[in-house]
């Protein structure tokens, strides 16, 4: 199959494929059943697999995520849908204290085949409590893996891999990407779940990004190519672990590194990426590595301020220009 598929549909197909292949896969969350999920990811699954495998839950994030941990310990493969990443803050005990630690604390006796899916990011004026990006919170937790698919193809591959994995995986989906379309070829063999991918090859500067910002970075790179700048765009696809070899190979080629992230810059993903690549590629860099990130502020409701609080295609292009043509632009 090769057609224009939206991300939500790719996720939906991945869920369906795994549920039909393996009876131990089940999903639970608020409105995942009768309603088919807030973003349609579980559409039609309730009718197909019944209420034990597609469970509508009360608003009890801490305990239904904990329930999934318990089920995973005894061989089930739960896929939790937390309605948005913001509500995952109520489930952090289950994710961080339980899922990430039980395999280790038990001396390796228990598998943790758990996937916790959650939409997040800045969407459209949802205000401070509904616009968060929590990668910084989760990246610092040994024992967790974090997948951040940006395309339908990656959504398909990575969700299937995540469900099959015996490690706990947080699956961060961006609210603005669900309806973005791309090619989905379900027959293609998948790369490893954490492998970064070069979305656009280039020689002058490396932009490393992920999720929605990877898409904007690609747009910015295309704009800059009209101005004669040849930008390489890397989509990380995974935030834990990070595919450092792919990143370093690119930086060693272009000698310039710009990291673009939607999350607040302070102590965020970009800080980790810049620090590690600076340690590793310092002698290859022609200029200090830079970060372009969300402002260190909760997201304002006002639309103009909201837009100004995170990177845009234009601000990404500006940041890259600034690095390649210092002094030439104001």
């Amino acid at each position: 199959m090769s057609e224009e598929t939206p991300v939500w549909k790719a996720l939906n197909l991945a869920m369906d494929a795994e549920m039909s292949d393996d009876d131990s896969v089940f999903t639970l969350g608020e409105d995942v059943g009768l309603y088919g999920g807030s973003y349609r990811v579980t559409q039609d699954l309730y009718a197909r697999y019944g209420e034990w495998r597609v469970r509508d839950t009360p608003i009890s994030e801490g305990s239904f995520t904990g329930l999934a941990v318990g089920a995973a310990m005894v061989g089930m493969r739960p896929v939790v849908e937390i309605m948005t990443v913001n509500f995952a803050l109520l489930a952090l005990d289950a994710i961080i204290n339980m899922a990430a630690k039980i395999p280790f604390m038990s001396g390796g006796q228990f598998p943790m085949p758990l996937v916790v899916r959650m939409p997040g990011g800045v969407a459209k004026q949802l205000a401070a409590q509904h616009s968060q990006r929590l990668e910084h919170t989760l990246m610092n937790v040994p024992g967790l893996r974090i997948a951040v698919p940006a395309t339908p193809q990656d959504a398909w591959w990575q969700l299937r891999q995540a469900i099959r994995s015996d490690e706990p995986i947080v699956f961060l989906e961006h609210e603005l990407l669900y309806f973005s379309k791309g090619t989905l070829d379900t027959k293609l063999p998948p790369p490893p779940m954490h492998r970064a991918t070069v979305r656009r090859p280039g020689n002058d500067l490396t932009i490393i990004s992920y999720s929605h910002m990877a898409k904007l970075s690609l747009k910015a790179a295309e704009r800059l190519s009209a101005e004669g700048m040849d930008i390489e765009v890397i989509d990380l696809r995974s935030l834990r672990p990070i595919d450092w070899d792919s990143c370093a190979a690119s930086v060693e080629k272009t000698h310039h590194l710009l990291v673009v992230e939607e999350d607040c810059g302070f102590a965020g993903a970009g800080a980790e990426i810049v620090a590690t690549l600076t340690e590793r590629c310092f002698h290859f860099l022609d200029a200090p590595a830079q970060r372009l990130a969300g402002l260190d502020m909760p997201t304002p409701y006002n639309g103009t301020l909201e837009t100004a609080s995170i990177p845009t295609t234009a601000s990404i292009a500006d940041a890259a220009r600034q690095m390649l043509l210092p002094g030439e632009i104001s």
Binding site: E30, Y35, P58, L90, L126, A127, P300, S309
Partner: protein, 350 residues
Amino acid sequence: MKRDTLLSMLHDMLLARAFEERAAQEYTKGNIAGFLHLYPGEEAVAVGVLHGAEPNDYIVSTYREHVHALVRGVPAEKVMAELFGRRDGCSGGMGGSMHLFDHERRFMGGYGIVGETYPVAIGIGYSIAMQELPEAVICFFGDGAVNQGTFHESLNMAALWKLPVLFVCENNRYQIGTEIHRHSAVTEVYKRACGYRIPSEKVNGMDVLAVHQATLSALQRIREGTGPQFLEVETYRFRGHSMSDPGSYRPNVEVQAFKDEDPVTVVLEESIPNYPTESQLDALGRDNIAHLTGHMRREGYLEMEDVAHMKDEIARLVDSAVNFALNSPEPDMQDAWQALNCNRGQEVVI
């Protein structure tokens, strides 16, 4: 009950309905964005409860809180300006529909994360009890919110320490798309409070007088030092969960973000349900405004012309709230940093 009290309740219910209908229109025009949770059908809860509160009492509410703010006395223009994201909004344009705050009126916020109102309320209650003040806290939440852990944790502490909190469950029987029998093992919410030995009562939320009466008695018991009280108010929302829920859950982010990219959004926009007509509401026999006007007419307090007159006046008020919002400037980045660092005082950091 006195005619003046009834008239002022009727006024607030009509204002609530008109304000929310107008907010829906302004959302469709693009003047309001984000999640917009409206209150038509539930007016008797906010009006009945808050007409029983004293100016020194505190209110803690959810994301469906425009009407709580209005009834509490936050000017309609300030609420509308906040929905528009403007600088003169009651939260300076930073919070929007789900996060209305008014320090002066002790309106302690609209909270977007389900289950947050309880701990905030018992915290305020703790401070009142510690200082032995004659005040109370009114804590609103939905039927879906009683399955959050904070509900149980907070009710226990409130009862244990006899905190002056009135818990008000607005039971509209839905947690977005999940009906109460599919989200709760015990659907008579008031019974849950009994587990913590908190006096609780089920009230008909279509009858503003019943809500008001139950509130007055509960608040009186609180002021006598009995400790927390609990009301389950049975109500009904006529609209979808939010403007982006046309009956099947469809978050507004989809509609807004993919308008250009996906034809499905056109279908979503078209399917936003029309507000029910008056005759449809009458046929439902459920409208709390009709209930109150009926009562007042039987008592001889009111002619239909009076209602028409009141509605005209309210329409003008809502118009001027919209004009105020339209003419208010947008906040700038400086305002945003100021809001973030408002508690820093003179300390210079970096």
